[in-house]
C-alpha cells in the first residue's frame, strides 16, 4: 500500500494550507528528506520535505489548492502500488458515518517547529468522556526542543484518547477524538493500532506474531514478552531477542526496560548536554518517564556536590553543566558576535510626552507600558528605515517589508524572544495587549512556534533592573537591536535653565555590514523623535 503524503500542520492555529508548487512530478523518484512541495499558510510560506522514499505515484492536491491539515495530498510508493484506494472515496480519509450521526474531530500530534518529527504526551488534562472547549488546555507534551501545553482545537466531548501519557507519537498522527457522543471515529485512523489495548484481546489477535521491524523482517515474541513490553511502555520491536531464532522472550524485555531509562526526547537531549546519566534519574513523568525537569533537577545537585566536599580551608569551584537553553543561548550569542560587525551608539530620550500618553491612557482604563510605547515607535521608525529591518544573506541583503518585533523576555535559566507580528500595523493598545499575553505565556512555556520565530528587529529592556544603558547583542539573523535602560528623573538643560525631566537612554546595536553609522544614527534619532513627539504617530 502506498504511503500517504499529508498536509502538515505548521503551528497550532493552522487549519489548512495552500500548495504553491510541486517540486516533483508524478512518476519522479523522491527520497525522504528531499524538498517535495512549497506551501503557504496564513502565517508563512515554506518548503516541505518528503516524508517517504519511493516514486511519487500520484498528486492528489494540485498547485493552488487549499487543503485541510492532515489530509492526503499525494502518494509515494513502488510503481504499480495502489495509490490510496481510501482517498478515492472522498476527500477526507474514508469515514464510517454513524447512522444519523456525524464524524468526530481528530486531535493530532501537532508539529512544533519544522524539525519536529515526534512528540511525547506528558499529561492529558481532560479525561476521556470529559467536556472540552475550544481553546481550553487539552494536554501537555514534550519534544526535543520544548515542553508545551496544547489547547483544544475543538469544542465537544473527548470521546477517545488514542495515545496515553508517556506515548511518543509521530507528528500529525491522531491522538484523540473530540465530538458529540455517538459520533463516528474516522475509519482510517480507527484502524491504526491502539497501544492501550485490553489484556483480554481475543486469542486470535493475541496470536498474531509481533509487528515487523522497520527492516521488514518479521520478529517473534512470546505472549508474556509482549505483556511485559506493554506494561513497561517498551516497543517490542526495539528489544533484541535471545530466544531461539531471535525469539523475544520475557527476560529480553525486562533487561531492555531496566537498561534503557525511559525518557522523553527533550530529556535525553538535556541529559546529554548536561553530562548527566539517565540511569540514575527517577522519572516524574507518566509511567516513570524521565522528563527534562527531572534531568535539570538531577544536574543541579550534581553541581552542588563539589561545594560541600571542599573543606572550609580552601574555596573551590562549582561546575554547572550546560542546560539545553543555556547552550543554545551561548551558541547564538557567540555566533552573533562572530558573524556580524556590530557597532553601537546611544541617545538620551526625554520621556515627558510618553509619560503623558501613558497617563492619558491609564485614565481611560487602558494599560500600556513604556516598553510598549518604545516598541510602537521603533516599529514605525523601521518602516522609514527599512535597512534596519533587514538581514545579511549570502550574496546580498534581504530587506523585509513587514515588521515583526521581537521582545526579549527573561525566563528561568535563559532568554526567549517572542515576536509581535506586523507590529508596524498594530496600534499601541494592540501591541500592549499582545506583549502582555506573549510575556505571560512565555513564562508558562506556552508559546507556539510562529510566536518565537520570524522576528525582524528586537527590543530588549533592562530598565527594570536599574540599568542606565547597555549594549545588547543582535539576535541573528536580524540587523539591529534596541537596548532600553531605566527611566529616571534627571536634571537636563533647557535653554539656559536646569529642569528635571524623565530621561531614558536608548542604545542601538546594528550590523555594520548591512547599515552604516549615519543611517543607523538617523534611525535612532527617529525613534527618539517619535517618543518625544508621539503626535507624529497619529
Amino acid at each position: 500500500m502506498a504511503q500517504e503524503i499529508i498536509m502538515p500542520k505548521q503551528g497550532l492555529q493552522m487549519t489548512e494550507g495552500t500548495i504553491i508548487k510541486w517540486l516533483a512530478k508524478e512518476g519522479d523518484a523522491v527520497k525522504e528528506g528531499q524538498p517535495l512541495f512549497e506551501m503557504e499558510t496564513d502565517k508563512l510560506t515554506i518548503t516541505i520535505d518528503s516524508t517517504a522514499s519511493g516514486t511519487l505515484l500520484k498528486i492528489v492536491a494540485g498547485e493552488g489548492e487549499t487543503i485541510p491539515v492532515a489530509q492526503v495530498i499525494a502518494y509515494v510508493g513502488e510503481p504499480g502500488e495502489q495509490a490510496g484506494a481510501a482517498a478515492a472515496q472522498s476527500a477526507p480519509a474514508a469515514e464510517i458515518p454513524a447512522a444519523g450521526g456525524s464524524t468526530a474531530n481528530t486531535v493530532i500530534m501537532p508539529k512544533q517547529g519544522l524539525q519536529m518529527t515526534e512528540g511525547t504526551i506528558l499529561h492529558w488534562l481532560v479525561e476521556e468522556g470529559g467536556a472540552v472547549q475550544k481553546g481550553q488546555p487539552l494536554f501537555e507534551m514534550e519534544t526535543d526542543k520544548l515542553t508545551i501545553t496544547i489547547d483544544s482545537d475543538f469544542t465537544g466531548t473527548l470521546l477517545k484518547i488514542v495515545h496515553g501519557e508517556g506515548d511518543t507519537v509521530p507528528v500529525a498522527q491522531p491522538i484523540a477524538y473530540i465530538g458529540a457522543p455517538g459520533d463516528a471515529i474516522p475509519a482510517a485512523e480507527a484502524e491504526a493500532p491502539a497501544p492501550a489495548e485490553q489484556a483480554a484481546a481475543p486469542a486470535a489477535q493475541a496470536a498474531a506474531p509481533a509487528q515487523s521491524a522497520p527492516g521488514g523482517e518479521r520478529r517473534f515474541s512470546t505472549p508474556r514478552a509482549r505483556w511485559r513490553a506493554e506494561e513497561k511502555g517498551v516497543k517490542i520491536d526495539a528489544v533484541p531477542g535471545t530466544g531461539p531464532e531471535g525469539l523475544i522472550i520475557e527476560r529480553d524485555v525486562l533487561s531492555f526496560a531496566a537498561a534503557a531509562p525511559r525518557a522523553t526526547p527533550l530529556a535525553k537531549k538535556a541529559a546529554q548536554s548536561a553530562g548527566v546519566d539517565l540511569a540514575g534519574i527517577t522519572g516524574s513523568g507518566p509511567r516513570g518517564k524521565i522528563t527534562r525537569s527531572d534531568v535539570a533537577a538531577a544536574a543541579a545537585p550534581a553541581a552542588a556536590e563539589p561545594a560541600p566536599a571542599a573543606p572550609a580551608a580552601a574555596r573551590g569551584e562549582t561546575f554547572i553543566p550546560l542546560s539545553g537553553m543555556r547552550k543554545v543561548v551561548a551558541e547564538r550569542m557567540k555566533a552573533s558576535l562572530l558573524e556580524m560587525a556590530q557597532a553601537n551608539h546611544r541617545m538620551s530620550v526625554d520621556m515627558t510626552e510618553a509619560v503623558r500618553v501613558r497617563e492619558q491612557l491609564k485614565a481611560r482604563g487602558v494599560k500600556v507600558s513604556y516598553n510598549d510605547i518604545i516598541m510602537r515607535c521603533t516599529a514605525r521608525a523601521l518602516t522609514e528605515f527599512p535597512m534596519m529591518n533587514a538581514s545579511m544573506a549570502e550574496d546580498g541583503i534581504v530587506v523585509k517589508h513587514y515588521v515583526n518585533m521581537g521582545m526579549a523576555v527573561a525566563v528561568e535559566g535563559g532568554l526567549v524572544v517572542p515576536v509581535i507580528r506586523d507590529a508596524d500595523r498594530k496600534s499601541l493598545t494592540e501591541i500592549a495587549r499582545e506583549a502582555a499575553d506573549l510575556a505571560a505565556r512565555t513564562k508558562e512555556n506556552r508559546l507556539q512556534p510562529d510566536e518565537y520565530t520570524g522576528g525582524t528587529f528586537t527590543v530588549s529592556n533592562l530598565g527594570m533592573f536599574g540599568v542606565d544603558s547597555f549594549t545588547a547583542v543582535i539576535n541573528p539573523p536580524e540587523a539591529g537591536i534596541l537596548a532600553v535602560g531605566k527611566m529616571a528623573k534627571t536634571p537636563v538643560v533647557e535653554g539656559d535653565a536646569i529642569v528635571i525631566r524623565p530621561m531614558l537612554t536608548l542604545s542601538l546595536t546594528y550590523d555594520h555590514r548591512v547599515i552604516d553609522g549615519a543611517p543607523a544614527a538617523q534611525f535612532l534619532a527617529k525613534v527618539k523623535e517619535l517618543l518625544e513627539n508621539p503626535a507624529l504617530l497619529l
Binding site: 489484556a199 486469542a203 493475541a206 496470536a207 512470546t222 505472549p223 508474556r224 505483556w227 531461539p244 522472550i249
Partner: protein, 326 residues
C-alpha cells in the same frame, strides 16, 4: 497422627468409614481373606464379615455392574479393581452406566460408588498390567477422578470419595503403596476434591505432576535449582475436578509450565491441562508448555526398556530447561 504406609492408610480409612456408615461395603477380587493383592483390605473381613468384605469372581463387568446396582439401591459400595488396566473389561459399566445414570434418570437415581485400585509401573508387570488409564475417566462427564500421591492424601481423599454421592474413580499407584507418611487419625479428616497442593514454591517454572511424578518433579527441581532455575511443583491430587486456578496463578508468576505424568503423552491428562492453560492464560506464557509423558508404545517387560519408555527425573529436568530456553 500416626505413621503408616499408603496401603495401610487406605485400609484404615475403609475400616473407619465402614464403622461409621453401615451402607459402606467392599467388593473385589481376593479382598477377603487375602486382604487384597496389595494389602489394602487386610483383615477387614475379620471386623466386618464376609458380606461387607466380599470376594468376587474374575468378572469386572459383573461386579462393577453389581456395584452400580447396589449404589442405585442405596448402598455405598467400594469396588476394587485389582489393576486399573482391568477397567477396560468393564468400561460400559463405568462410562455408560455409573457415569450417566444420575443424569439420565433426572437425578432420581444416584450412584454413590467408589471404584478403587492401582495403576502404573513398579513390578515389571509389562504391557497389560502397567498402564495409567486415568485420562479415559477424565474425558467422560459424570465421574470424579482422584490420584493421591502420598498416604495422607490417600486417607483424606478416600474419605471424601466414600462420602460423595457421585461415582469416583479412585486411582492409587502400585509403587506408592509402601511409602510411609504421617496420617491423621481424625475419623473426619477429609481433603476436598479440586484442591491442588503446592509441594514446593518457586518462581521460574511451574511443574505439575501426579503420582510418581510428584516425587520425580521434586527431584528434577533439586537438580535444576543448582543451575539457577527455581521450580514451583504442584500436585493436583484430583484430576476431576482439576484445580486449574492454582496452576494458572502459578503460571502468571512464572510464565512457564511443565506437566509431567506417567501415562502416555499422547492425548493424556497433560494435553488437557496444557490446552486449558494456554486458552485461559496465554498472555502469561513465555515458552511453549512442555508435557512429559510415556512414549507411545506398550509398556515393555524388560526393565531397561520400561525405564526408557517411562519418563525419568532427567526427562522432567530437560523439559524444565526447555521452557527456560536452556
Amino acid at each position: 497422627m500416626s505413621v503408616k504406609t499408603y496401603a495401610m492408610a487406605i485400609r484404615d480409612t475403609l475400616a473407619a468409614e465402614m464403622r461409621r456408615d453401615e451402607r459402606v461395603f467392599c467388593m473385589g477380587e481376593d479382598i477377603e481373606t487375602a486382604g487384597g493383592s496389595f494389602g489394602c483390605t487386610r483383615d477387614l473381613y475379620k471386623e466386618f464379615g464376609i458380606e461387607r468384605v466380599r470376594n468376587t469372581p474374575i468378572s469386572e463387568a459383573g461386579f462393577v455392574g453389581m456395584g452400580v446396582g447396589a449404589a442405585n439401591a442405596g448402598m455405598r459400595p467400594v469396588v476394587e479393581l485389582m489393576y486399573w488396566d482391568f477397567s477396560y473389561v468393564c468400561m460400559d459399566q463405568i462410562l455408560n452406566q455409573a457415569a450417566k445414570i444420575r443424569y439420565m434418570f433426572g437425578g432420581k437415581a444416584r450412584v454413590p460408588l467408589v471404584i478403587r485400585g492401582q495403576q502404573g509401573i513398579g513390578k515389571g508387570n509389562a504391557a497389560q498390567h502397567s498402564q495409567c488409564p486415568e485420562v479415559f475417566f477424565m474425558h467422560m462427564p459424570g465421574l470424579k477422578v482422584a490420584m493421591p500421591s502420598c498416604a495422607e492424601d490417600a486417607c483424606g481423599l478416600l474419605r471424601t470419595a466414600i462420602r460423595d454421592d457421585n461415582p469416583v474413580a479412585f486411582i492409587e499407584h502400585k509403587a506408592l503403596y509402601f511409602i510411609k507418611q504421617e496420617v491423621p487419625e481424625d475419623p473426619d479428616f477429609m481433603i476436598p476434591f479440586g484442591q491442588a497442593k503446592i509441594k514446593r514454591e518457586g518462581s521460574d517454572v511451574t511443574v505439575v505432576g501426579t503420582h510418581l511424578f510428584v516425587g520425580r518433579s521434586l527431584e528434577a527441581a533439586d537438580i535444576v535449582e543448582k543451575e539457577g532455575i527455581s521450580c514451583e511443583v504442584i500436585d493436583p491430587r484430583t484430576i476431576v475436578p482439576f484445580d486449574y486456578d492454582t496452576v494458572i496463578e502459578s503460571v502468571k508468576k512464572t510464565g512457564r509450565l511443565v506437566i509431567a505424568h506417567e501415562a502416555y503423552k499422547t492425548a493424556g491428562m497433560g494435553a488437557q491441562v496444557a490446552a486449558y492453560v494456554q486458552e485461559h492464560a496465554f498472555k502469561y506464557l513465555d515458552a511453549p508448555i512442555q508435557i512429559v509423558g510415556a512414549m507411545h508404545c506398550p509398556i515393555p517387560f524388560n526393565a531397561t526398556l520400561e525405564n526408557t519408555v517411562i519418563p525419568s527425573v532427567d526427562d522432567v529436568a530437560a523439559a524444565i530447561r526447555r521452557t527456560m530456553y536452556k
